[in-house]
Symmetry: C2
Subunit: 138 residues, 2 copies
DNA sequence: CCCCATTTGTCCGTATGTATC
DNA sequence: CGATACATACGGACAAATGGG
């Protein structure tokens, strides 16, 4: 897999796509370190900026986690707690606001579930830790 | 609103925070273009890199959408279609895979709802266009 | 159609800070 | 301690896309 500088899609998006495929295919398994930024710039013949923006995309998708001084690793998907969606409620998925990310201690690239109860009451739950259920009626 | 280079919080985070507030307050309404990168570097007396990283944050939050040669606009949240979550099903929120982003034509920073029906059947819906409901039982 | 101003994309050089090993 | 690697931040330069005239 290689990068085409003349393509209409930005190089940093192409690099993110390539790495995403390598992760989703299992070639880069959870816990495995990605090549360093310097390595990737050489490997694909591109600049730092493109590599770093690609990493930024993958972090924003929750696929990888970067530790300063160490590198970037593939994240493993966490356990999910099953929570019942109350009758009369509805739910939407969206990205958290900055405030919500702090309060819920969310990593980058983790969406939230916004549960809307009856009368304007809204509850926000971390999207990577919750599975909402609607039980079969008894 | 201004930026403090000596703060512990990075300049680009500060810029993202400022722009996010201007968007959420309605000052920058959906469809409106943000100031250009050059404009923002002048306005806040910072480098272009910090500006671009701030934009990257806002894109990853689904707040804005950038087009090369044109600019960055505040995303308008489309109407959400109300869909009933079937009895016995469950749902999780996560970021889409690369394939899903293509097939569903999703922008950066848009999560998906993964609906798990009874026996391993899985359905994926764009998170910015759907509101899942559980009606009150009759 | 071309021309042009604007705007984002990309690369490079440089520098400093911080975290890991 | 040093070597490595990423984070932040500035500057310059050119390429490429957009949109208007």
């Amino acid at each position: 897999m290689t990068v085409d500088p003349r393509s209409h899609t930005p190089v940093y998006v192409q690099v993110a796509d390539i790495l995403r495929r390598r992760i989703e295919s299992g070639e880069l398994a959870p816990g495995v370190s990605l090549p360093s930024e310097a390595r990737l710039t050489q490997e694909y013949g591109i600049g730092r900026e493109a590599v770093r923006m690609a990493m930024s995309i993958l972090r924003s998708e929750g696929l990888v986690s970067t530790v300063r001084g160490h590198g970037t690793r593939v994240r493993s998907s966490p356990e999910r707690q099953r929570v019942e969606l109350p009758a009369g409620a509805s739910v939407v998925a969206r990205m958290p606001t900055g405030r919500e990310r702090n309060e819920l201690h969310l990593d980058e690239g983790v969406p939230v579930l916004e549960i809307r109860h009856g009368k304007g009451e809204v509850e926000v739950k971390p999207g990577d830790q919750v599975e909402l259920t609607r039980p079969t009626e008894s």
